[in-house]
């Protein structure tokens, strides 16, 4: 089995709201991503997915837990300083709100190649411009977009610029927070094929955060399910979809809208009652690599 690239153990984060009140966004979450593996992280809105992404990228200091990437302790400032360049070049993030996180004053060409400029990476295709055009084509952006700035583009065009920007560094680990939700299904398919290509050709690893479970099913090797900051279940993809054990996972899987008007309109919304969750639970391995939270 391949080596572990990212090791997340007991990750906990509380957002302090006032001196007396805080929101627990992550509560002891553990998972590992191996070299060349695509790990899907799913869960309801507000379950802590983006918080986990921000912690792994060192944009947020977690309240507790351990984070190791390529053997480097991500929470130790000294180790981080010593490995600064490696961390900046091999680990990339596509923000959930990437469309609004792009610098509105830069042209798209400059946005895409900015990480290469900052890290003085020599453009493999000769010039930065050629590099921008090459990356843009890969995500289906026409060259005529490259001289425009983010406010002059559509939502999906900005999103693709954010993807191209992350991919131009050829990262070893990509954290992608809802990378394809704002794209039409054909461009979506193109990007998902591209991720798969990067995995098989370059052995890159991906943490894929998404709501679209059919995309998760198609792309991911393993999937973890978050619920109110707890990892309630994780398993190889086929196993999870065929044999979901935790009620949260079942509720999540049963509510996928189908592109079929007659069947879709007959489907009732299933409400998942959180009060039925037993209080004390531990993660148990029920079959190889299939973990689920169970009552003690």
């Amino acid at each position: 089995m391949a080596e572990i690239l990212l090791d997340v153990r007991g990750l906990t984060h509380r957002y302090a709201m006032t001196s007396s009140r805080s929101v627990t966004a992550l509560d002891g979450v553990s998972f590992q991503i191996r070299h060349g593996e695509i790990f899907g992280l799913v869960g309801q809105s507000g379950s802590g997915k983006s918080t986990a992404a921000r912690c792994i990228m060192n944009l947020l200091r977690p309240t507790g837990g351990d984070l190791h990437y390529k053997g480097v302790d991500l929470l130790d400032p000294k180790q981080r300083r010593e490995n600064r360049r490696m961390l900046q070049t091999t680990r990339q993030l596509i923000f959930q709100d990437s469309a609004s996180s792009l610098n509105p004053r830069m042209t798209l060409a400059d946005i895409i190649t900015e990480p290469m400029v900052i890290n003085s990476v020599k453009p493999p295709r000769g010039s930065m411009r050629a590099e921008a055009e090459f990356q843009a084509a890969k995500v289906g952006l026409s060259p005529s977009c490259l001289d425009r700035r983010p406010p002059e583009l559509s939502g999906g065009q900005r999103q693709r610029a954010a993807i191209a920007r992350a991919l131009c560094m050829e990262p070893e680990l990509l954290i992608a927070d809802e990378p394809v939700a704002s794209l039409d299904v054909s461009v979506q398919a193109q990007i998902l094929n591209l991720f798969r290509h990067f995995q098989t050709e370059h052995g890159f690893s991906l943490l894929f955060i998404a709501h679209d479970l059919s995309a998760v099913h198609w792309l991911c090797d393993r999937v973890g399910v978050l619920f109110h900051g707890l990892l309630v279940e994780s398993a190889p993809t086929t196993e999870l979809f065929e044999n979901p054990l935790h009620p949260c996972t079942r509720a999540l899987l049963s509510s996928v809208p189908l592109p079929d008007p007659r069947r879709e309109r007959q489907r009732r919304l299933e409400r998942f009652d959180t009060d039925t969750l037993p209080a004390a639970e531990t993660l148990r391995e029920v079959s190889p690599e299939h973990f689920v939270l169970k009552e003690d």
Binding site: S154, L183, A189, D212, P257, P259
Partner: protein
């Protein structure tokens, strides 16, 4: 009389590279209490179309032609001051980009309350608060009383998106433009928001123009669909007609690209070739270079809207009586 009527609308931007034709000769109408979904390739002009109708385009945009009539009022010729009065009451918009639609320095409760007062200026403070809490729970935000005081940056992506929807609904509009209102939501919440749109249609007669890339969402919520490509509407029909009997090759390609149709481990279908250029678009059908079923005439002359049924129209030369008969790769029947 339809609630909304858009006739021959064309919108362009002057860019350094030339005139970019974002919306080209678009016409459609919407009855009171109807939900129309607009789907189409990223960058094909959906958001620009909605902003043109609601008069929210940036200064760099130019409306070249066309008229917009909402509830008998001609919006295109109305002075800005009057449009502002109608905004909120008659129509409102859920923007695609939640972060830029919210004020970062105002609590979300205050922002929704502001919109409630547009509709009911004389409402008592306590009543406004009640209404805000009700709106928050309608869009699936639990512990609404705690969330009231939070700022946009305290929220997750999906929570922000739902607050934007609550703001748009707060003023009780008769016509709602919802640009990708469910992209950041999990399937359960997505269903809840779509059912909310259907519910206000049922109870209050609210009409909605729903823009979405999610064909499952369209299937659930919409009565009718319009498919756009390169600034034009290329197919319209009832939701059933679009899903079960699509006629335009672009619609076929879209439905074929769904990941739910693909096997794990197999490549996903995506439309080959590069997206069309909206600067100097070709004279023929803009989809022709990427269309495996393109006819010679597609490269020369752009197809008119052909009638399939009284509710179903598509702009493809394949519907011309002289065109060769082909078997569509998808649909082609009305399976029940």
């Amino acid at each position: 009389m339809p609630l909304l009527e858009v006739i021959d609308l064309s919108v362009s931007f002057d860019t350094p590279g030339g005139e970019l034709q974002a919306v080209r000769d678009v016409s459609f109408s919407l009855d009171a209490g109807e939900i129309l979904a607009i789907v189409g390739e990223s960058g094909c002009g959906k958001s620009v179309l909605c902003k043109a109708v609601t008069r929210l385009l940036p200064d760099t945009a130019r409306i070249k032609s066309g008229s917009v009539v909402i509830d008998g009022l001609s919006l295109s010729s109305m002075p800005e001051r009057k449009v502002q009065k109608l905004r909120g009451q008659l129509f409102s918009m859920v923007f695609q980009d939640p972060m830029s639609a919210l004020n970062p320095s105002l609590s979300i409760g205050a922002q929704i309350a502001e919109a409630v007062r547009v509709h009911a200026p004389c409402m008592k403070r306590s009543e406004v608060r009640e209404r805000v809490l009700e709106l928050l729970s309608l869009v699936g935000i639990d512990r609404a009383a705690d969330m009231y005081k939070l700022y946009p940056h305290n929220l997750s992506g999906g929570q922000r998106q739902r607050v934007v929807t609550a703001v748009a609904l707060a003023s009780g509009p008769r016509l709602l433009f919802a640009d990708e209102p469910t992209t950041a939501l999990d399937a359960g919440l997505q269903t809840q928001i779509l059912d909310l749109l259907r519910d206000i249609r049922q109870r209050l007669g609210t009409s909605t123009v729903l823009i979405s890339h999610d064909l499952g969402a369209v299937a659930r919520a919409a009565d009718r669909g319009a498919v756009m490509y390169a600034g034009k509407i290329v197919e319209t029909g009832t939701t059933e007609e679009i899903f079960y009997d699509p006629r335009h090759p672009y619609t076929w390609s879209l439905l074929l690209s769904l990941p739910s149709r693909a096997e794990r481990g197999r490549k996903l279908h995506s439309i080959s070739g590069t997206p069309p250029t909206l600067i100097d678009p070709p004279s023929g059908d803009a989809f022709a270079p990427r269309n495996p079923w393109a006819l010679e005439i597609d490269y020369e002359q752009s197809p008119p809207m052909f009638r399939v049924t009284d509710t179903h129209f598509a702009a493809t030369w394949l519907l011309d009586p002289r065109a060769p008969k082909i078997t569509p790769p998808i649909g082609g029947n009305d399976r029940g």
